[in-house]
Symmetry: C2
Subunit: 185 residues, 2 copies
Amino acid sequence: MSLKYAVLAALLEGEASGYELSKVFDISFANFWPATPQQLYRELERLARDGLVEARFVQQERRPNKRMFTLTEAGREDLRAFAAEPPRRPTAIRDELLIKLQAVDDPEAARAMIEERMTWARGKLGRYERVRERLLDGRTEDAYLRESDRVGPYLTLLAGISFEEGNLRWCERVLAVLKQRVAQG
Amino acid sequence: MSLKYAVLAALLEGEASGYELSKVFDISFANFWPATPQQLYRELERLARDGLVEARFVQQERRPNKRMFTLTEAGREDLRAFAAEPPRRPTAIRDELLIKLQAVDDPEAARAMIEERMTWARGKLGRYERVRERLLDGRTEDAYLRESDRVGPYLTLLAGISFEEGNLRWCERVLAVLKQRVAQG
DNA sequence: AACACCATGTAAGCAGTTACATGATTAG
DNA sequence: CTAATCATGTAACTGCTTACATGGTGTT
């Protein structure tokens, strides 16, 4: 049910193709609602059938043809109603690393996994920082908040940043604990 | 595939019934691998069929009968192998609130949702703190880490705490941004 | 009297994943 | 020459959610 609204929300940024949306759901939206291309193509089909988005066929010469999707007024209204209601279900996290860590008996293997996660988190923070700069576009946060009509994308970006920072802090903590365990055998 | 190992990891704590596991997956494990009772009953069935857990029927007098499950040596071995491999898929988060926030056009509604999340996060932190005290059992962290044979449960607990603290910090940030927006209409 | 807890399970349906297919274009 | 990008889609499968059912016990 929520994927539907995630797609509608993504289309608030403007017209997009399924392929373009699959990039968005693999990068920025992946931070709170990941989806594979196949999910998106199916969802867009449904949304078009229900009149919440409008599809426009675009013929291209040196590229495969594509369909561009836009929110309809009905889609906008449906999304608005959804956004006004409090969430029904709590945040769900699925993290394989934590299962492994729960069961771990080899501190060295654990350490390696944590290091990898840290590298990954740092990379993600860097990419977030660049998105932030693109949004702010030289302005201060204050100026940006005054001038932009939508705050949503900025707030979800902050969530991503906050999450990865927390991740890093936790990783440091885990490394310290593991080191102590190894030190005493 | 991962639910399987989450269940095996949960059984490292000792024999448990499907019902007991459903509590665990609704509270502590929910922080990194939520599962409904129905998922668990099916998974336990499969694990028993594959010889990774052993089922023992327990007749009770003033309660419904139950089946208690224990890890077999094969199950332990399978879990050990899983825990030694690096994770295949990145952390997946599904958070309805962030979809709503991405689309939000009513700052007052947004503020209410954030307040609710904060209340919820504080509650969760409180419960984590109590779990921590039960684990430490009067000892310092150092002493606990020296004496306990498994660190896993403590590390995943720290992850939960870290996550909710980050959540709270982010909520504060969002409130500040929203306040600023409202102040200027 | 009404509700929550204990303890399991079936059935149906929806959501998400994986594999495969197509075929030209562009970058290394 | 190889791999990645663009752009879509079908099919088969696995995983997850929701509704319902049972029926005694303990709590407010």
